[in-house]
Symmetry: C2
Subunit: 465 residues, 2 copies
């Protein structure tokens, strides 16, 4: 093991250069013009995995390709074979994604998003924390085993996809088709966060999600606000009044049935929450607001990960250019995503939202609702042997006691791993709360990168028992 | 006079071709890229006025130039000179504007906005009704006098500006500088509408206007809605809730002081309103809404012209592209214009709006308000001799009894004519309610064009008494 750790320590400068090469690909899955860049990024990753010594292939999909890389000689085991052959090593999947969020708005970046910039121990680039840096740490750990000839106590298969930021559409089919080959003890995912460099964390829950696009149609065309203003409802006002009703002054979503299936937090969980080092003051400062706001009766940490949300992601109506244009807009639109928590069913929430909007929509406008991708939340018991092994690996790598936490984000594919492969996921996030994932000036801390490699190296020892 | 009417009748085909040339200039004053087009349009107008026989000059301003064209030998009169010389002809100003609204959204036009298309008796183009067609009708009437050698009973000065759609900023200074030269009995303006081709109208009131841009600032940058959603106010939701409070279910604006100075409608005026041929059903059909909505206690015609409004012209926040982006937007913005009615002071309304928004803005966001151009409403008695002369000219040209009406739109410069030149304005609108002024597929009816020319020809006879 010391060989592995020494190898990691000695090779950080090269790892960083390689990481920069990885970050230079503008692998923005949401934007069609970057299709080629995603392919080039995947090809680079394949070549890199092979160089490390992994048996690697690029799997084409209807969307962007998936990189699959196995430790030499590893073989999946069905439940039956496993029982027959107690001597085979346990098989784990390591999941990651090489695609990134759109970098816009570009003018808010201090340096170009796809030209990595290192300041002290921080590297700035789109995709640095989400998710290239985190999945690369796992690759470097396995490289250390392979290059030092240290026996890996587990068989590993890396699955690194290119559609996470657009709903992982191809991955389900891929898992189904390769169900036997991918059968595993558990899936290891570093695509979330830890509260601080001194608080490594194991995530045991993720929020789900469902997206809506709500459009209110008013007059057949934009109208002159002088000639018609006063006698016709303004769709932008109607939309404001519609949306305004959906959240009360206590931060509760007022849609009947919205909270129907929400599992209450246990006393144990709320105690764990209280251990988190994030204070309201530190959170407020980090995100730059005058005052926090959330559902009454919950701490901000609970609000951010254990409670569902109804979030407006975008508003569009009428004239948005310079100066003014005196019109009554023909229509107004809101893009919405709801974060869901364990037990909530996306379909139930979809129905509740649609029914309520139909009910409260005034007769002066026509309501159009498009419900997009939905994914359930994820919850797993943090007290099982795998979770305990992960906690030990975290403690060894980071040198301090890790905490258990719920994640506010969504990794819809975690449910697919459970459903298709029957495998739970270990969420070993390496991101920091101020890493600006999905925002301008996304960054990754090089301590997280290095300690993440060590954590990964320890993990396979701990998991193998 | 018959010579004049015959000349008009015989020359319609040529007039139409010239009108098309005028419409082809994309003279969009709000868009800097069209500066040259505005200048080219003004130059064309100067050449055209000279060809008609008017003494014409192009007056440079800080913005777009103003075209000034006088009937030969006409001379303004100060009050004193006028008294000394009873034999001089009365001097009238004819105001118009050659600038047009932005044509966007382009995809909603059935044909390109600056390529005039004639279908039956209708001509489609941006600026056709607002205001090129209307001011061109007056030019054609004076051409008929000059080309047939018919003595004009009035001296006329055409003032055709290029900044009406952006607040007529240069015109006030122009009026002040040329106060003596422009001294006149009254200003004739055809830049409004009539209810139908069988209902020619004299407008005796215009609404005023004041513009606001309201921005709510939340987090310092767009935030990941998974990592932070639930604990921080969403500026788009905060904006919706702010705006939603400003109008109640009876269509009343709830801003304290907003209605303070509104002059109530007289019984006589409400009776005149009742004569208007527009029904709720016809209005609803024309603008393509399921149901009208306005301030309770007033007819839709009253709502559209005699009551103030608070209209959202545009909404902007967060992600507006394809698909979804899971962010909490950093800010949200609304563009607003309020239409004002007689007696309301823009400054009072500005203060009332700003004070109320400041009062109700939640502490979770930072409010930024920009108050733009403001203009008072206009109201003049419709019973004076000039108004009566105008009504007679309308009746002769259109062959039916004209009606008196308030206009819902704003022509801020009307107040400047009153303030600087001491002159009332005669609003002889030639537009129809479905002309799509400020909307895609703007149009002008060729009957209005032709009868408008006749009305203008009669007008100078009637005004001279």
């Amino acid at each position: 093991m010391q060989l592995v750790l020494d190898y990691l320590k000695q090779n950080q400068p090269r790892f960083l250069a390689e990481f920069c090469d990885y970050l230079r690909f503008p692998s923005v899955s949401a934007q069609p013009q970057h299709k080629k860049d995603l392919h080039a990024c995947a090809e680079w990753l394949v070549a890199h995995c092979r160089q490390i010594g992994l048996e690697t292939k690029l799997c084409a999909t209807n969307g962007h390709p998936i990189v699959v890389a196995k430790t030499p000689g590893s073989k999946a085991e069905s439940g039956k074979r496993k029982a027959e052959n107690k001597l085979r090593k346990p098989h784990y999947l390591v999941y990651g994604h090489y695609d990134v969020q759109p970098p816009e708005p570009l003018e808010l970046w201090s340096s170009p998003p796809f030209e990595p910039r290192i300041v002290g121990k921080i590297i700035y680039a789109r995709g640095s924390t989400d998710n290239k840096g985190q999945n690369f740490a796992h690759l470097k750990a396995v490289e250390a085993y392979l290059k030092t000839g240290t026996p890996l106590p587990c068989d590993l298969t890396f699955v690194i996809e290119g559609e996470e930021e657009v709903g992982s559409e191809s991955l389900s089919d891929f898992l189904k088709t390769n169900r036997r080959e991918l059968a595993c003890e558990a899936v290891v995912i570093s695509d979330t966060g830890m509260p601080s460099p001194k608080h490594p964390a194991l995530g045991y829950s993720l929020r789900g999600i469902i997206a809506f696009e709500i459009t209110l149609h008013g007059p057949a065309r934009d109208l002159h606000s002088g000639g018609f203003g006063g006698a016709v409802d303004n769709p932008a006002m109607a939309l404001s009044q519609l949306l305004a009703q959906l959240r009360d002054k206590n931060g509760r979503i007022t849609i009947p049935g919205f909270y129907d299936d929400v599992a209450p937090l246990s006393a144990y969980e709320r105690k764990e929450y209280a251990r988190l080092p994030v204070t309201d003051a530190s959170l407020q400062k980090m995100i730059g607001v005058k005052k926090l706001f959330g559902e009454r009766g919950f701490t901000s940490s609970e609000q951010r990960s254990a409670r569902p949300t109804f979030e407006i992601n975008g508003l569009t109506s009428g004239y948005q250019g310079e100066g003014s244009k005196t019109i009554i807009p023909s229509w107004a639109r809101a893009k919405i995503t709801c974060r869901l928590v364990p037990n909530q069913k996306p379909e139930h929430v979809r129905k509740a939202v649609v029914a309520h909007l139909k009910k409260i929509c005034p007769p002066t406008v026509r309501l159009e609702i498009e419900a997009g991708h939905g994914a359930e939340a994820y919850l797993v018991s943090p007290t099982g042997p795998q979770a305990q092994a992960a906690l030990r690996a975290l403690e060894k790598a980071f040198g301090c006691k890790p905490i258990l936490m719920r994640e506010g984000g969504s990794i819809p594919i975690v449910n697919q791993f459970k459903k298709i492969l029957g495998a739970d996921s270990l969420l070993l996030g390496l991101g920091l709360p101020d890493d600006n994932a999905h925002s301008p000036n996304e960054k990754f801390h090089l301590d997280c990168f290095e300690k993440g490699q060590r954590m990964s190296a320890y993990l396979w020892q701990e998991l193998a028992g």
